[in-house]
Subunit: 155 residues, 2 copies
DNA sequence: GGTGAAATCCTCGAGTG
DNA sequence: CACTCGAGGATTTCACC
């Protein structure tokens, strides 16, 4: 487990809120030099704490009006890798989560409308040896913009 | 519905893959001037297609080893706003999704370990007038890094 | 972790089709 | 209206303290 101190967490919190914050802005906020902040971000990338940066998009404004979670059930013989592969082949699938217990997987999908959702579910059912699906239609979502405080660690 | 053309989608795709890409890099990639790319990004923010930028974090490396989805059920009298408020008060909750049908809400949580997960579920059950929960423990996750192609629009 | 300098990048006004 | 160009200022980056 890599050591990530409080200052690292402050850097992460600032980047969580705005991933394009400049090093100078963060340096002023934290009270370090610009180079020191850059070195910390570089290091957080190297040790894999930071896996990347991305843009946050309002998908509804792009025509993807419907968001849903679909629970997938498979026969006991199906490999996890097959589950992930078949689900990932569908571009409307935003994320695949394999699950302990029942169901076997949960996928997050974004589609244009309910007809499109129907299509995607049909495609998933045909793609692998899916034995059952249950779809949760999202009415509203409230993602958290901020970062959780650092967990208590052994001193 | 705002008009977002193919070049905008290319910009979004590039920023999706790396939210800190420089305008010059994107300009070279797309074949526009730096200023033109910047104006497009500015405009995408103004019309709300881009809602922000953020850093992607490997939470397991920060000590949040367990990820789960919990389905929440409430009495028919509970307001959506109350569901969202009580769930959002728990810092371990990463996102709240209200759902059409059964269950009433789905929350995404990140916790240190299974004991911590137990605590959080107990806290949620006590917080509102929750009538039932079902927790899906995540074994693995495969979020999609890329952006879906632009949906077909009316010409 | 700080400093300083060179290279790069951002920003914005002016001009063009 | 969206684009390009260009100059000034800000930012990034890196070697060295």
């Amino acid at each position: 487990m890599p050591d990530v101190d409080d200052i690292d967490h402050r850097v992460l919190r600032l980047l969580r809120e705005d991933g394009r914050r400049t090093f100078s802005e963060m340096a002023a906020e934290i009270g370090l030099s610009v180079a020191a902040v850059k070195r910390r971000v570089d290091r957080l990338r190297e040790i894999g704490v930071i896996t990347g940066f991305t843009v946050q998009i309002d998908h509804a404004k792009l025509g993807w009006g419907i968001e849903a979670f679909t629970e997938l059930r498979y026969p006991g013989t199906t490999l996890v890798s097959d589950i992930v592969r078949t689900a990932s082949e569908v571009p409307e699938v935003q994320a695949v989560y394999t699950i302990a217990g029942d169901p076997d997987a949960l996928i997050h999908v974004r589609v244009r409308d309910l007809g499109h959702l129907q299509q995607i579910i049909d495609r998933l059912r045909r793609a692998g040896d899916v034995t059952g699906t249950k779809t949760l239609l999202v009415l509203g979502s409230w993602p958290r913009a901020t970062l959780a405080p650092p967990p208590r660690r052994a001193p």
